[in-house]
């Protein structure tokens, strides 16, 4: 029923803690030019642009309109989508629907963030998402919400801190092979356990960084002769506004991710995700979340994720590679983060992931996480 849509190009900046060498439009242009080159397109080959960025982090109102010279949207249809952590994955979905609906032939999704502009106060920006009277005084941004989730997971399965630490140890090993990644130096379990506690049980090295960076991905209904990543499943689910109302009985279980994944698997004809998926690019904001997300995605049973990581199944050469790019734990320019998952997943099935390529990847999953436990999922395949 839907028109087939493919990804034919992806571009990223070098993601760093501070990109003082470029302005926001220049940073964006870096990703846009790379995506155009990858897609073998000239700027006039892009019919519309979908852009995303979170205004509170940089203190720029209508940042889409300010950055239009960088996005390539000047004189073109440009749509801004901004949904917090999910912004990047929401961009991918919006670009997909604009092409699948026949509105445009080729649409570029462009996401960016310069978190250095918030001078280390990214959490201050995130805190404003919550209800000013009931929630802000007690819920200090993203870290504390994830800490609640991690505590519940820990209580349920008796998972130890050193097991969670393995997630970032493995992520850094992967990031070392990704020249775009922000944090590429290796860490050990001992170093993670020695890093300061941010909010129990999450330590500094358990948590994703804040980065400057941009990402651009080209969606089209006319992919031409080049290698394409076909969009086979698209789904998203949202939860209640107030944290106390979220999910069925427990914050700890990412119900929305399970529902979105089941819907996307159904569209893509995936019956056994662990067996059928070749690679997963997962939006894991902290080490503990990776366990929850893997279980919600059906990559393993409840309480089995820590063992899956410990056994090496999630390594780049393992049974079900998770985040061969290094993931969000190594790179996090918020408005781009979810789009980077889609870009990396598309590169894997197009066979253009270079040093971080998973051999023979044909089917990939990209996820986004944000808001009040929102989940967005996209399944990409080498075959139409």
């Amino acid at each position: 029923m839907r028109d087939p849509v493919a990804i034919v190009g992806a571009g990223q900046t070098a993601h760093r803690s501070r990109r003082l060498d470029v302005s926001a439009p220049e940073l964006i242009d870096e990703a846009v030019q790379a995506a155009l080159l990858d897609a073998r397109l000239e700027p006039d080959g892009i019919d519309a642009v979908v852009v995303g960025n979170m205004e509170h982090f940089e203190g720029i109102h209508l940042s889409d309109l300010w950055a239009v010279e960088g996005t390539g949207g000047a004189g073109k249809p440009q749509l801004k989508v901004a949904t917090g952590g999910t912004t990047g994955s929401s961009l991918a979905q919006a670009a997909y629907y604009l092409v699948a609906g026949g509105f445009f032939r080729t649409v570029m999704a462009v996401g960016w963030e310069r978190l250095s502009d918030s001078e280390g106060e990214t959490t201050t920006g995130i805190v404003t998402a919550f209800d000013p009277i009931y929630e802000r005084p007690t819920l200090a941004g993203a870290v504390s919400g994830l800490a609640i989730l991690a505590c519940q997971y820990q209580a349920k399965y008796g998972t130890r801190a050193e097991e969670a630490a393995l997630v970032v140890v493995q992520a850094r090993e992967n990031a070392a092979r990704n020249s775009h990644a922000h944090l590429r130096q290796p860490v050990t379990v001992a170093e993670v356990l020695a890093s300061p506690v941010l909010s129990t049980p999450i330590r500094y090295l358990d948590m994703c960084p804040t980065s400057d960076g941009a990402c651009a991905v080209v969606f089209t209904s006319r992919p031409g002769d080049g290698r394409a990543a076909w969009v086979r499943g698209v789904s998203s689910r949202h939860n209640h506004t107030y944290l106390g109302d979220v999910t069925e009985g427990s914050v700890s279980y990412l119900h929305t991710l399970r529902l979105a994944a089941e819907d996307a698997y159904r569209q893509a004809g995936v019956a056994d995700p662990r067996q059928e998926l070749d690679v997963v690019e997962m939006y894991e904001p902290c080490t503990w979340a990776a366990f929850e997300w893997a279980e919600a995605l059906g990559l393993c049973g409840p309480g089995e994720a820590a063992r899956m990581w410990a056994e090496g199944a999630t390594r780049r050469d393992g049974e079900i590679p998770v985040n061969p790019s290094g993931g969000v734990l190594c790179t996090n320019p918020i408005g781009a983060t979810g789009l980077i998952r889609v870009a990396e997943a598309s590169m894997q099935v197009r066979g253009t992931a270079g040093e971080r390529q998973v051999d023979g990847a044909r089917l990939a999953l990209a996820t986004g996480f944000g808001g009040s436990f929102w989940s967005e999922v996209m399944v990409l395949a080498a075959e139409r």
Partner: protein
């Protein structure tokens, strides 16, 4: 594109201050009204697209607060951080893709909770422009002067256009402002020649051709585009990218002669100069032609990102009441018309 029809619309009574509700409650009010008017319930709505501004709401991910109000829990929702007419593009695409059959679009604006001039200032270049104190009103003044100069008009033309808008607003029960003082705000614009800052919300329910049956109002074409940012990089006296946007909308809807084929036009005019300039940008003659801003346009109420969606609701209302067959609704985002969006609505039997 696969046909997308409008099931129903609702808008609040727009006001200078709605201290009785927060912005999520304002959205809840308009969604509840829409459900009451259409007889629909949330379980028939597949997906939700909201339009809001994080700066105006003073909350990042401002859509988080609106999602419960829009019945989005457990569904797929997304947010367009532009005027509601742009959100309508995404909503229509979701249905046209075949992935969803029905989509609720909700937009709100609550100017009274912030300082609209200060917020506007934060959209300009932080080094070269913000320190001058430029905001939306001063930018509108520059545009109005450039427009008068290009057309060889005197400021009386602005006053006359504002008077006509006020006369129309006087007949609009939802209007926030029916008259204002003739006090200079940003030369050559006076207070009554600049659209007010309003609290208000609007909701539009879309559905596919299987759901919308019989004679109905359909979304037959759209156009949207974004201009360059710098005020100095644009000729402010010209309608910018609007003619391009209008051509796209007319092409998609098969409109050859807008003066003759359109029965009603509603535009987001942030000043009375824009009332005149957007008319030119849409390719309409200076007189005659379709009914022009019969609600009073944005000069009657300007509730942030709901302003353009209210234009859609107004055009829908007239077509649904049999006052014409074809209408155009216009929305914009940014200052002096950096981004425009236009929709052609047509009342006809199912495609």
């Amino acid at each position: 594109m696969r046909p997308v029809g409008i099931v129903g619309v609702a808008q609040t009574r727009h006001a200078e201050r709605r201290d009785d509700v927060n912005y999520a409650e304002l959205a809840f009010e308009v969604v509840s009204d829409l459900l009451a008017r259409t007889g629909w319930s949330h379980d028939r709505i597949d997906t939700v697209i909201t339009a809001s501004s994080d700066f105006w709401d003073g909350r990042t991910i401002s859509d988080m607060a609106v999602q419960d109000a829009a019945g989005a829990a457990g569904k797929s929702a997304s947010k367009v951080s532009m005027d509601g007419t742009f959100a309508l593009v995404y909503a229509a695409a979701r249905i046209a893709s075949g992935a969803y059959r029905t989509c609720l679009v909700v937009a709100h604006g609550k100017a009274s909770e912030g300082n609209p001039r200060l917020i506007a200032n934060a959209a300009f270049d932080p080094i070269f422009q913000r320190p001058m104190g430029i905001d939306d009103h001063t930018a509108l003044g520059l545009q109005a002067r450039a427009f008068l100069d290009r057309k060889g008009l005197t400021p009386e033309a602005l006053a006359e256009a504002a008077t006509q808008s006020a006369a129309a607003a006087a007949m609009n029960a939802n209007a926030h402002r029916r008259q204002a003082a003739h006090v200079l705000v940003a030369d050559p614009l006076h207070e009554d020649e600049i659209a007010p800052d309003s609290d208000g919300a609007c909701a539009v329910l879309l559905a596919d051709a299987e759901t919308v049956r019989g004679e109905a109002v359909w979304l037959d074409g759209f156009g949207f585009a974004t201009d360059v940012h710098g005020l100095g990089d644009r000729d402010l006296g010209e309608p910018g990218v609007l003619p391009q946007v209008a051509r796209e909308a007319y092409r998609r809807a098969g409109v050859q002669d807008p003066d003759r084929e359109l029965d009603v036009v509603e535009v987001h005019d942030a000043s009375s100069a824009q009332t005149l300039l957007w008319r030119e940008g849409l390719g309409l003659s200076e007189s005659g032609g379709p009914a022009w801003n019969p609600s009073g346009g944005a000069m009657s109420a300007q509730p942030g990102f709901a302003t353009g969606l209210v234009r859609v609701a107004e055009v829908f209302g007239r077509l649904a009441r049999g006052e014409g067959k074809t209408g155009l609704a216009h929305g914009m985002t940014g200052f002096v018309g950096q981004a425009h969006c236009a929709w052609i609505l047509r009342k006809r039997a199912r495609a």
